[in-house]
Symmetry: C2
C-alpha cells in the first residue's frame, strides 16, 4: 500500500523513531525473506533494533534486503550475534514468543499485555526485547528459560501456525498503538464542514415545498409521517454544508420548468 | 512457528470458524505470494471468505497456494469476481482499507474500530467485508466511494508502506481478538501450584537456621535486615511448591557434612 512520505525519511531524529524501542531478536531464522518482511514490519511500527542469532543463510542477506521494501535502517543496523545469551546481554527484560505451552512456570502474555509490559520497562529506563524462534521449530526451551515472560498469540486452534514476520508485525503493532494517538473514528471534512441544523431544515422545507406542489405528500393525513421519515433519512446521512447545497440544487433542477423542445424525449 | 493441532483441522464445524465472518476482498492483487500469505493470515484468525477481483496473474495461482502454508480452505474457497461491485454485491456494510486520505467525507476507522463495527453489523445479522487495493496503488476512488467507511492503519509516518498481507493480518487480528477470551496474563502451573505461606516460611526458617550455623548472618545487629532482604528476594520470585522443595534440597545438600574422601578435591 502506498503512502510513505519520503520527505520525512531522512529526518534522523524523527519523533516516531526517537522513542526508545524494544529489541527484536530473531533466533536462527531460516529464510532471508522472513528477515526482510520482519524488518519491513518493524519499521512500519518504528522498531529499529534488530538482532540476529545465527541466521541459517548468513548475514548480510540480499534476499532479506530485497523484500524489506526499503527498510534499510533496520537491515543495515541489524546486529549479528553468536548466541541468544549474547543477543540479550544488555537487556533488562526479555519476552519469548512461543506458539505452544512449555513445561515452565512463567507468566504468559497476550501481545497486548506484552506490549504494555515492554512499555513499562522502557519507560522505567530499562532495556527490553522480544525473542522469536526459527520458523519450523520455534524457540528452544533454553532460550525460553532465559526470558522473563512468554508471549503467545491467540489464534484459530485449527490453523495456528503464524508466519515469523507476522508474529513480529503483531508485536510491533501492539507496541506502536500504545504510543499512538489516532482517534478511533474520525471524519475528514476537507474544504467543508457538517451542515448545521438551520441549513438542514432549510433544505427539508425546500424539498417538502416542492413535494407539496408535485403531489407526493398526499393524502394530507399521511403528510406528517412521510415528512418525518424523509427528514430522518437525510439526517442519518450526516450531510455536509456542501452536500446540502448540492441537494437543494438537485431539487431546484428537478422542479425547473423545462422549456418546450429541451425536455426529455417522450415515449 | 509450530503449534497447529492437526487433529482439529478436519472438524468442519469448528467453533472458531463456525462464527459468521467478514469477507476479505482483494482488489486486483498483483502478487500470488501476497494472496497466499494473506490467506494464511486470514485462516490464522478464522477468516475464510476470500474474494478476488481480477488478480493480475489469474486464478487459481499455484504460487499463492505454495506460500499459504496449508490454508487450502481459504485458497480453494476464494471467489473470483470481475468487478468490485460484483464482489461486494451481497454485503450490507463495506470498509475500504486505504493508506492515505481521500477526497471523500467518510468515517475513518482505526483497525480496532473497524473490527468493532464489523462485529456490530454481523451480530445484527448483516454481511460485512473489507476491501484491500493493489499493492502499488491501493484502492481507486470509485471503490472507496462504494464503501461505508475507511480503515487506515496508524503507522510510522516515515515508513508507511504496509505489505498487503500484513494489512489483512492486522484486520484479522483485531477481528479475532473481539471473539477471543484469552486471559491477558496467566501462569501455567502444570503439575505444581504456587507455594503457600506456610511452605515459604518453612523454607526461610530452614535457610536462616543453616545461615546462623555457617556464620553468614553476623553481626547479630544486622541479622534482622539481612533476613528481611533475603525473604523479600525469594518472595518476589513467586515460587511454586515444587520449587520450595528444590530450594530446601539445595540448602540440605550444601550443609551436609561430606564424608572424608568424598569431598571436592582441594588445591
Amino acid at each position: 500500500m502506498a503512502g510513505t512520505d519520503r520527505s520525512k525519511k531522512s529526518a534522523p531524529d524523527d519523533a516516531a523513531t526517537a522513542r526508545p524501542v524494544p529489541a527484536v531478536v530473531l533466533v536462527e531464522p531460516q529464510l532471508g525473506e522472513n528477515i526482510g518482511t520482519a524488518s519491513r514490519a518493524m519499521l512500519n511500527f518504528a522498531l529499529t533494533d534488530l538482532r540476529l542469532v545465527n541466521p541459517r543463510d548468513g548475514w548480510p542477506n540480499e534476499r532479506a534486503r530485497a523484500v524489506s521494501s526499503g527498510a534499510d535502517q533496520v537491515i543495515d543496523g541489524a546486529r549479528l550475534c553468536a548466541s541468544t545469551v549474547e543477543a540479550v546481554a544488555d537487556l533488562d527484560y526479555v519476552i519469548a514468543t512461543t506458539a505452544r505451552s512449555r513445561d515452565l512456570v512463567k507468566p504468559v502474555f497476550t501481545p497486548e499485555t506484552a506490549a504494555a509490559k515492554l512499555k513499562q520497562v522502557i519507560e522505567g529506563g530499562g532495556k527490553a526485547g522480544v525473542l522469536f524462534g526459527p520458523e519450523r521449530t520455534g524457540l528452544n526451551n533454553d532460550d525460553v528459560t532465559l526470558a522473563d515472560a512468554v508471549m503467545m498469540v491467540p489464534v484459530n486452534p485449527s490453523f495456528a501456525s503464524l508466519n515469523l514476520a507476522h508474529a513480529v508485525l503483531l508485536m510491533g503493532w501492539e507496541w506502536f498503538k500504545l504510543g499512538d494517538a489516532t482517534a478511533p473514528e474520525r471524519v475528514e471534512y476537507l474544504d467543508t464542514r457538517p451542515a448545521n441544523k438551520e441549513e438542514l431544515v432549510g433544505f427539508y422545507e425546500h424539498l417538502e415545498g416542492a413535494l407539496d406542489k408535485s403531489g407526493f405528500l398526499r393524502p394530507v393525513e399521511r403528510r406528517y409521517l412521510m415528512v418525518r421519515n424523509i427528514r430522518n433519512m437525510f439526517n442519518r446521512a450526516g450531510l455536509t454544508e456542501q452536500e446540502v447545497r448540492t441537494l437543494r440544487g438537485i431539487v431546484a433542477s428537478l422542479t425547473r420548468r423545462v422549456p418546450r423542445g429541451e425536455g426529455p424525449e417522450e415515449g
